[in-house]
């Protein structure tokens, strides 16, 4: 069994989900996504124990030479695990919603998982690019068709998102073609060895940066984000914030830095600075939000800014912190958006001012939501703390002021998250009734919280799993 098996399950699952019809679509999607998760775990096991090779390589197009090459290492397997673990959770979280034409909805989610999984495991630049672009289509339709709010403004937000990301990635394609002209190959191993002048590296770095900065998003390319997060159905927001933006951060580590290390090192302060600016900007805007999902969107902007800063700092701690925090943030943000979804579904509003006084009616929900909020502000003993700590430490290694500035945002983060929690949950008992979590909802929360706390207390397995690969990548980055 090789790693392409996961892709096959997901793609087949997407088709099966569509054809079983509206009634069974959600169950089929859940079954296939869980199967993909199981397959990923099995492949990880095979990989760690070294029982059999799990890579898959086949020539797809002879001229220009394009290979269907999927390779497993600690880094890509970690991201694959994140994707396949979050997909069933995301599917499960939409179970309670009545969704029109649900077979298309779930099939698109499965297809999106397929595309994102492909992005994480491809080592051929061209195939990677195809998966990267393919992941854009399903989320476009999910946000457009099943999104909420006024149609005209939603249309505007979604099309802006599409054109932004499409624009960014086309420049990445140009960079890949240019690299192909130089090396005659799209494979990472050959691209890492490409001999490029500083000038060429600079332009390639910029082309990649455009694609990734838009997707993460790093300011000033973030303008699409909050609106799309707010307007998408919650499953779409979870896919976007939980997995899709991780594609970009992963790509920085896997593609951008090793291929164009010189500008990365020379302009490190600029890019880290931009990311840190995003942290502050996101935090400040989050303070002023009155819409729950928008607040979470801006807090996410702040968090991923710090993750990207860690990746651009080109230190082992930065890269490792970025990967750890990607996982922590992936689970955490999915949980938070799910909580927001539950509240707004029961109260039929996204405005924070119309909420409040939920706590006394829902002890279980309140405690789970509180744990997620605390994890999001990186309370020690949660996974987010491990990641954030490593990231801040890497900032301190590059320039102490970065660490100081980025550190203050933790205080800001604690402030707006806890204030949000207070306004949403606490206060005088709300007159509107609020049912406590059902078993399905509770299951989602418990899974997420378990992951966050278990790895918060014992992150060693993941750290050990990814560190050798990150060290290898650092060697390639520092090759000159």
């Amino acid at each position: 069994m090789d790693i392409s098996f996961v892709l096959i399950i997901l793609l087949f699952g997407a088709a099966a989900t569509y054809f079983v019809g509206d009634k069974w679509a959600s169950k089929a999607a859940l079954i296939f996504s869980t199967a993909a998760f199981a397959a990923t775990i099995y492949i990880t096991y095979l990989f760690i124990e070294g029982i059999e090779p799990v890579s898959f390589i086949k020539v797809w197009v002879e001229d220009p030479k394009i290979m269907l090459a999927f390779e497993a290492d600690g880094l890509s397997l970690t991201m694959l695990l994140l994707t396949t673990a979050l997909t069933p959770i995301i599917i499960l979280s939409s179970f309670r919603n009545t969704i029109k034409n649900s077979r298309a909805f779930y099939a698109l989610i499965m297809f999106m998982a397929f595309a994102m999984a492909g992005t994480f495991i491809s080592v051929d630049g061209f195939v990677y690019y195809i998966f990267w672009e393919l992941s854009l289509l399903p989320i476009y339709f999910i946000a457009l068709i099943w999104g909420n709010g006024d149609y005209e403004s939603r249309k505007k937000a979604v099309i802006k998102f599409f054109i932004y990301t499409f624009a960014g990635s086309l420049f990445m394609l140009a960079a890949f073609i240019f690299l192909y002209q130089r090396t005659g190959s799209f494979l990472t191993i050959n691209l890492y060895k490409a001999f490029l002048t500083s000038n060429e590296q600079f332009f390639i770095f910029l082309a990649f940066f455009l694609a990734y900065a838009i997707k993460i998003p790093i300011i000033p390319f973030h303008t699409w984000q909050a609106n799309v997060y707010q307007k998408s159905p919650t499953a779409g927001t979870m896919l976007l914030s939980g997995i899709m933006l991780k594609m970009a951060i992963y790509s920085i580590i896997r593609w951008q830095l090793p291929i164009a290390p010189k500008p990365a090192a020379e302009l490190m302060y600029v890019f880290v600075g931009l990311c840190i600016a995003g942290v502050i900007y996101g935090s400040i805007l989050a303070l002023k939000q009155t819409d729950l999902k928008k607040l979470l969107a801006y807090s996410s902007l702040a968090h991923v800014g710090l993750i990207a800063a860690g990746a651009y700092s080109i230190t082992l701690d930065g890269l490792r912190g970025a990967v750890l925090q990607m996982i922590a943030h992936g689970f955490g943000v999915v949980g938070l958006f799910y909580a927001a979804e539950i509240i707004s579904r029961r109260y039929n509003t996204g405005e924070i001012s119309e909420m409040g006084g939920i706590r006394s009616q829902t002890p279980k929900f309140t405690s789970m939501f509180l744990i997620l909020v605390l994890a999001s502000v990186a309370l020690p003993a949660t996974f987010n703390f491990v990641g954030e700590f490593e990231l801040l430490y890497s900032m301190a290694q590059t320039n102490i002021w970065f660490a100081v500035i980025a550190g203050t945002t933790i205080i800001l983060g604690a402030f707006y998250m806890l204030r949000m929690f207070q306004q949403v949950m606490l206060g005088e008992q709300n007159t509107k009734p609020f049912a406590d979590v059902t078993f399905g909802e509770g299951f989602v929360f418990v899974t997420i919280i378990t992951v966050l706390i278990v790895f918060g207390l014992y992150p060693k397995p993941i750290v050990d799993f990814i560190t050798p690969d990150l060290q290898a990548i650092l060697v390639i980055i520092n090759r000159n």
Binding site: V61, D63, L136, I145, F162, I163, A174
Partner: protein, 457 residues
């Protein structure tokens, strides 16, 4: 050669069938006949034959393009039955003209002599003039036919004058002789040879509707019956582009720098003007016309490196025309033969008919250049060639244009999936569905197995 004779014969059979009152058999017989000639043409692949003193030379290039044209014609003929159901009596004329148009197109890619080339172009054009004006009671159709005829005749004049000048400079219509004369004389070729080439180019740029020779296209596309527009924007455009390319490489293997400069300016203009104007259109046929103009701009980029780009052009034209056929099949299904192809007609189409809406979405995504559709690979191969010939700047412009094009392609997709239903569920003829499905399947197959097409030339 046998392809040409067979298809012309098929056209005549169509006309005779009318006399014997066999109208019902015309379309099936034509499709079967075309499938037969497709086999015949494919068998020619890889061989070089010349006929009638090099009037016609068939080689891999002509066989590949002839096959593409025949496939496109099969689709167009299959669409005709339902499209012309109110003019059943004239069906033989419509089919016969399409077949003659196909002979013209095939002559345009298998010529060995300028005279044959001109004959091909004229057969194709005259058939199109007739088809454009084929709804005599519709004012717009008349206008389209007249406009296209006047402008097209003018362009043909240019081509003819160009051929005459080339003859004056080299003393021959034969492409081999012209090529030989150029090799022999080197830079001593009389000036009017170049003037001739420029005039030829102007005529052909008119036929492919490149800016600034594009002004006829939107009006003619909009005014003509939808099926004719489909023919113009797929078969005719692709044939003209293939002929243009063949002409340039057969009389002059290395394109001089100043000519490349002109072509690149025209290419940039076509892309940009076509795309920007398409953004503001509300009529789908008109929008597709402008999108076709921008695609012509993309196709012109093959001239930067003509020795290696024959396969790329074949792939691009195949991807573009198959997506075009699929799009037009859906357009016909939505709007029928009545006219009024405004975007709002597509509102809620995604709910009324998910299959056809999905096909239109796929074909528009292919034109926009989104993987895994063939349109994406077409752009990729093209960009790859252009970058390797050192024209990075024009690739950047092309990329910006691809981004712009998303705007109008998605306008239609948005209308289909998000706007509320306004019209009744239309009953869609089976033929439209079959053609749409087949052409989009071919398009996706091209995307999944690109080597089979891009590598054969």
């Amino acid at each position: 050669m046998y392809t040409l004779i067979a298809i012309a014969g098929l056209g005549i059979i169509c006309l005779i069938a009318e006399i014997f009152n066999l109208r019902k058999a015309i379309i099936p017989v034509t499709i079967l006949g075309l499938l037969g000639t497709l086999g015949l043409t494919a068998a020619d692949f890889g061989k070089v034959n010349s006929f009638y003193n090099n009037m016609i030379i068939t080689d891999s290039y002509s066989a590949a393009y002839s096959s593409l044209f025949i496939i496109l014609t099969i689709f167009l003929v299959a669409l005709s039955g339902s499209f012309h159901k109110e003019h059943k009596a004239k069906i033989s004329d419509f089919i016969a003209i399409k077949l003659f148009l196909l002979t013209g197109a095939i002559a345009m890619v298998s010529f060995g002599n300028m005279a044959m080339f001109f004959l091909g172009i004229e057969i194709l054009s005259i058939s199109l003039y007739v088809l454009a004006a084929s709804q005599p009671k519709d004012l717009k159709s008349n206008e389209a036919g007249m406009k296209y005829f006047l402008m097209g005749a003018f362009a043909s004049g240019f081509i003819l004058f160009g051929i005459a000048l080339i003859y004056g400079a080299t003393g021959s219509f034969d492409t081999h002789t012209i090529y030989g004369a150029l090799l022999e004389n080197g830079s001593n070729v009389p000036q009017w040879f170049f003037i001739g080439v420029v005039m030829l180019s102007v005529g052909l740029l008119f036929k492919i509707a490149a800016v600034p020779f594009h002004f006829w296209a939107p009006d003619v596309y909009q005014g003509s019956p939808a099926l004719t527009t489909a023919t113009m924007s797929t078969l005719a455009k692709v044939a003209a582009m293939a002929a243009f390319f063949k002409l340039m490489i057969s009389i002059n293997r290395t394109v001089p720098g100043s000519y490349i400069t002109i072509i690149s300016i025209i290419s940039i203009l076509s892309m940009t003007v076509g795309n920007l104007t398409a953004l503001v259109q509300t009529n789908v046929k008109r929008m597709l016309a402008f999108s076709g103009i921008s695609h012509a701009g993309f196709m012109l980029m093959v001239f930067f490196n003509p020795r290696f780009t024959a396969g790329t052009l074949l792939y691009y034209t195949a991807a573009y025309s198959l997506a075009g056929i699929a799009a037009f099949a859906v357009l016909l299904a939505v709007c029928g033969s009545k006219g009024d192809e405004e975007v709002y007609r597509f509102n809620g189409f995604g709910k009324r008919n998910p299959l056809m809406a999905g096909i239109l979405t796929c074909s528009l995504l292919s034109m926009a250049g989104i993987p895994i559709f063939a349109g994406f690979f077409a752009k990729f191969f093209l960009f790859n060639q252009v970058i390797s010939s050192g024209h990075i700047a024009i690739v950047i412009i092309a990329i910006v244009n691809s981004i712009i094009s998303v705007g109008y392609y998605f306008k239609l997709i948005l209308a289909m999936y998000t706007k509320d239903d306004i019209s009744e569920k239309e009953s869609i003829p089976v033929a439209y569905t079959i053609v749409a499905v087949l052409s989009i399947v071919l398009n996706i197959a091209l995307g999944l197995f690109p080597s089979y097409v891009v590598g054969i030339l």
